[in-house]
């Protein structure tokens, strides 16, 4: 028993006094142990996040194309979005007695976070609550997710500027300075990482509405012609366009065209019952129909099946890589023992038993394995903690 204690002491001394070698070996082995666990936790997190959100959204209507892209954009605000449909299309999909339909328009960003144009029903359907402030009520208002508020240091009353699509495109989308009116309570979903505004505000960002100085008050340098009889004024490009909606200029903002013709990415549909669900779905069964209706749960199930197949393939490859890494570690141990053959011979010659010598070697291996397991556990815990964020980043 005491010789085992001596073997343990000797092995511990060797491990501690060769920290680089022991650390590298433990890190390599730890990685081998952690990779399958880490992969599993990420896949589990993806599965949970995708299924939970998909299950909470029975149907999604959008322009025909990739059903998965439509689901990822409508549910997780992934960009670039698929082709848009009109608000009129979204309104016509179902009657109010059949379902609650909420349009979403996902195209723009503000400081790296997606701006989601929608209606106030979105919050009630998703059961989102405000941690601070109030919902958007006016043009130029926005409500930010908890993660956005934390990362950008926003609170009600702050300003948030939408990101221009192309800095040097004169015909492009110009930034709009929005007022943050509220911050959503954290829900651990994609909503935490988005900026919500009224549909009209997103159309305003797109340039489908605008506000400019009162042409009746405009100076001659901005006016090309005035028709006093008809009240028409033709102005040049020096007319000042507003990039922020304020109390003073709110009334100057106006849309050119009918709201029903303006774009939305998708409509989230919550049928009142299974019959309504079947009826709405049947309406879009025709493959020639330009719109499609998809069940996020089915799309996500298909995606996850592919993901699990991919995981099996990756695990197979990892098994091969792990076997290789283990062989290399075995080789390193073997070479290390071989290099120290003189030391083991000395121990033999002073009379240390074979069992105790084996004990020294096994204890050294065990110590590195324990260290590797510790590193792997920490690594897996970190990956598991970061998995929801990783999944969200991947989805968006």
């Amino acid at each position: 028993m005491k010789s085992w204690r001596a073997a343990w002491t000797l092995a511990l001394r060797y491990t501690l006094r060769h920290p680089l070698r022991s650390g590298l070996l433990a890190a390599a082995l730890g990685l081998v142990m952690a990779l399958p666990w880490g992969l599993r936790s990420v896949v589990d997190a993806a599965d949970a996040a995708m299924r939970e959100r998909a299950a909470a959204t029975p149907l999604v209507l959008g322009r025909r194309g990739s059903a998965l892209d439509l689901v990822l954009t409508a549910l997780h605000f992934r960009q670039p979005p698929p082709a848009a449909m009109t608000l009129g299309d979204a309104r016509a999909a179902c009657r109010r007695s059949e379902a609650v339909s909420v349009p979403v328009y996902v195209r723009f960003q503000a400081r790296g976070f997606p701006i989601v144009g929608t209606e106030l029903d979105y919050f009630s359907q998703r059961r989102l609550t405000l941690a601070a402030g109030r919902a958007f009520t006016q043009l130029g208002d926005c409500v930010v997710g908890a993660a956005v508020a934390e990362k950008l240091g926003l609170q009600p009353g702050s300003a948030l500027i939408s990101s221009p699509e192309q800095s040097f495109d004169l015909d492009g989308v110009y930034p709009l300075k929005m007022r943050v009116t509220g911050v959503l309570a954290a829900g651990g979903q994609s909503d935490d990482h988005a900026v919500f505004a009224d549909l009209k505000t997103t159309w305003l960002i797109e340039g489908l509405a605008h506000g400019h100085q009162d042409m009746a008050q405009a100076g001659d340098e901005a006016v090309l012609s005035r028709d006093a009889a008809n009240g028409e004024v033709v102005a040049n490009a020096s007319v000042r366009l507003y990039n922020e909606v304020t109390e003073a200029n709110r009334n100057s903002f106006h849309f050119h065209g009918d709201f029903e013709d303006l774009p939305v990415t998708a409509a989230l549909i919550w049928p009142v019952d299974a019959r309504a669900d079947a009826l709405i779905t049947a309406r879009f069964r025709d493959p020639d129909e330009p719109l499609q209706i998809v069940s996020p749960a089915e799309e996500v199930a298909g995606l996850m099946a592919s993901l699990f197949q991919l995981e099996r393939l990756v695990l197979g490859l990892l098994a091969l890589a792990s076997a290789t890494a283990l062989l290399v570690c075995g080789l390193v141990f073997g070479l290390s023992f071989r290099l120290r053959r003189d030391q083991f011979t000395t121990l033999e010659e002073i009379g240390v038993s074979r069992a105790a010598l084996r004990g020294v070697k096994l204890t050294e291996i065990a110590l590195v394995l324990i260290l590797a397991a510790g590193l792997a556990t920490v690594g897996v815990a970190l990956v598991a903690a970061a998995a929801p964020t990783l999944v969200r980043l991947t989805l968006s």
Binding site: K2, S3, A6, L10, Y14, R17, T345, T346, E349, I350
Partner: protein, 223 residues
Amino acid sequence: MTAATALIQAKDLCFGYGDGFELRVADLTVRPGQVLLLRGPSGCGKTTLLRLLAGLLTPAAGSVRVLEKDLAQLSVSASRALRLREMGLVFQDFALIDYLTAEENVALPAKFAGGAAPDPAYLQRLQEELDLTPLWQRRVTRLSQGEQQRVAIARALSGRPRCVLADEPTASLDPRRRDRVVDLLKNYAVSEQAAVVLVTHDPALWQGFSEVLDLGDEEVAAP
């Protein structure tokens, strides 16, 4: 076993490496309290004889008895146990464990032997006699050759073995320390009633030993 009984005894030893070298020792006896000096030119077989006496080599003929045990009759594990508990070996190349301190190297045999820990007062005395006190906590790789040799001697004596086999134990020491180590080994033999076999090719050490075995001869017998 009486006080006069031989602790180490070899008879009609014959050993060869198969390359023409052959060592023959007719009779070698070391009794308690005796220090036997093995001397001779390099390559004459001093280290080989020491390894035969330690049971690290097996003779082609003849026998080696240590503490009345015939080494040829012992199993591998019994032979190792005998070395660990009853023999102190000083190797020519010191054979210290490089990642341990001087203290840890010295304590190693006792730790593996599993018996009682060495008497701290005895270890303290050993440290002082070998001038190891300031080096005690240093890793042996940071010690000079002479310091490492003294650590190797301390390791051999730490378990108070009945037999000490020392191969060139003063080769790296200055004359003052060399004399002190020789005195230490002689005193150890007397105080512990141990058998000490000391190998050297240094003529400066050849004086002052009553028991001498010359290995330069064709076939030799100890007195």
